[in-house]
């Protein structure tokens, strides 16, 4: 039992160390690349533009449900007028960054991990090495920097559509006063709140992109089975680990922000 725990601990620490090294190389490799703007634009399209529809749909329905749930809770305390504030702060501080990140991981992160994993199995990454092209700089760095840009923007979209969703249920469906809804938001939401939410999105973008790329890049080492099933295994791991990391980092960042 103790030896098993020790093995797992060593494995965890060594994997964490490998991820740290990989992250460092991914972070600094972009400037050495050629056609940086082109690569960044393509990565922004994959991570950003392609994720807009899913972000908007999930954001809208989250706002709709949140408006409904909070309305009935607030009614018990005769505080329906606080609906706008409650919806906006919940979304901006917690739900927006977390849900957006999970949605992007589901759509772009899994695709990223699978694509790099397949490239590894098809010896395309080795081919890059033999062509003197830095594979991490070529495959990972543009996506990492694109995620840094795309995550906060998509989170902002989520926040806006989510707050509008809350308005639809609260005001249009359940009869909360529209002036109260918007005024409460205006009064309660500070620039600091928005900044705090976007900091989370920024961190989630870095962490999830690195986890997904790392799992794909080392699929030949990380997977228990080689080939297509190995890629499927590392892709699943990429999504699961990223989702866990989002929640862990959400807690850590929230604790830090509340302590300030």
């Amino acid at each position: 039992m103790i030896s098993k725990l020790g093995r797992y601990s060593i494995r965890f620490v060594s994997e964490f160390g490998e991820l740290a090294g990989f992250s460092g190389r991914a972070a600094v490799s972009l400037p050495g690349q050629r056609h940086v703007f082109e690569k960044l634009t393509r990565a922004l399209f994959e991570i950003g533009v392609r994720c807009v529809p899913i972000t908007l749909i999930v954001g809208l329905f989250t706002g709709l449900v949140l408006g409904l749930q909070l309305y009935y809770v607030l009614t018990k305390f005769s505080s329906e007028s606080l609906l706008g504030q409650a919806v906006a702060l919940s979304i901006i501080l917690e739900i927006g960054p977390v849900f957006t990140a999970i949605m992007i991981v589901g759509q772009a992160g899994s695709a990223l991990s699978a694509e790099i994993g397949i490239q590894r199995n098809a010896e395309q990454i080795d081919a890059l090495h033999t062509m003197q092209i830095n594979p991490i700089g070529f495959l990972v760095s543009p996506r990492l920097w694109a995620a840094v840009i795309a995550f906060p923007i998509l989170t902002t979209f989520f926040d806006l559509i989510g707050i509008y969703g809350g308005y639809l249920t609260g005001v249009q469906l359940l009869g909360v006063d529209p002036g109260a809804y918007w005024n409460r938001i205006y009064d309660a939401v500070s620039l600091q709140n928005i900044f705090n939410g976007l900091v989370k999105a920024f961190v989630f973008g870095i962490v999830t992109t690195l986890i997904c790329s790392f799992q794909g890049y080392y699929t030949h080492i990380k997977a228990d089975i080689p080939g297509a099933r190995g890629v499927s295994q590392t892709t699943t791991r990429a999504v699961v680990y990223s989702s866990i990391a989002i929640l862990v980092f959400d807690y850590l960042i929230t604790s830090f922000q509340m302590g300030q």
């Binding site: 050629r34 098809a122 010896e123 395309q124 080795d126 033999t130 062509m131 003197q132």
Partner: protein, 238 residues
């Protein structure tokens, strides 16, 4: 031939855990010629190529060429071609120039166009690897390997999974283009005796060591007993 015109491997070793794959290999590969490394599956032929190319770091030993440490410019042809599926043939061939060289867009287009024409790939230039035949994929991979004008091309079992007709077509292609472009070929293959026709030298890798080195003619005249079952599998089963 002097050492100046050789790719020299000295004491090259590689182990994975407790398994020694290459055991202090010494090999002088003449530059400008075609050397084929033969041997049973799993004897470390591909590992040898990967050590030469730098894809794998050897545990010990040195590689030098023309008296200098390291190897000259070298390209690698992978078993499955390793073409990027999401890029057209043209983009695949241009990739090393676009990402590493200092050539401008027009020069790259010119060089890629010329290369595709020389390898009779111009009609397929805008197609994706999935849309072309196996032979064309091999030529596209060769075009990508040749575009940087390397001195050495390493071929890792280039005929794996091909029918006999295509196998000969690939061997002919390697022979023809080597004559035309003058690069050195180091090839790994178990296609015996077919490879003897295109090779200048044969190296037999067995149990981590080079157990035979010579021309195909020398091999035919003086075949080591242990190699006979590999060259003629019927002997092994008799």
């Amino acid at each position: 031939m002097s050492n100046d015109s050789h790719l020299q491997l000295k004491g090259l070793s590689k182990a994975f855990g407790s398994q020694t794959v290459l055991d202090r290999i010494d090999l002088d590969i003449p530059l400008g010629e075609h050397t084929t490394v033969i041997g049973k599956s799993g004897t470390g032929k591909s590992v040898l190529l990967k050590c030469i190319s730098g894809l794998l770091a050897s545990d010990s030993g040195t590689i030098s060429a023309s008296g200098k440490q390291g190897i000259p410019s070298c390209s690698y042809m992978f078993q499955q071609n390793a073409l990027f599926d999401s890029m057209t043939v043209e983009e695949n061939v241009a990739l090393p120039l676009r990402e590493t060289g200092k050539a401008g867009k027009e020069e790259i287009e010119q060089r890629v166009g010329d290369m595709l024409a020389q390898l009779e790939l111009s009609p397929a230039s805008k197609k994706y690897p999935a849309e072309i035949s196996g032979g064309m994929k091999k030529r596209a991979a060769l075009a990508r390997a040749l575009i940087t004008s390397p001195e050495i091309i390493l071929f890792d079992e280039p005929t794996t999974g091909l029918d006999p007709q295509r196998k000969y077509a690939v061997f002919d292609m390697i022979r023809d283009y080597r004559k035309r472009f003058g690069f050195t070929v180091v090839m790994v293959s178990h296609d015996v005796p077919e490879v003897f026709e295109i090779s200048d030298h044969i190296a037999w890798l067995d149990e981590g060591k080079i157990k035979f080195w010579g021309t195909p003619k020398q091999l035919a005249e003086n075949t080591p007993d242990a190699l006979k079952p590999f060259l003629n599998p019927k002997l092994a089963s008799a």
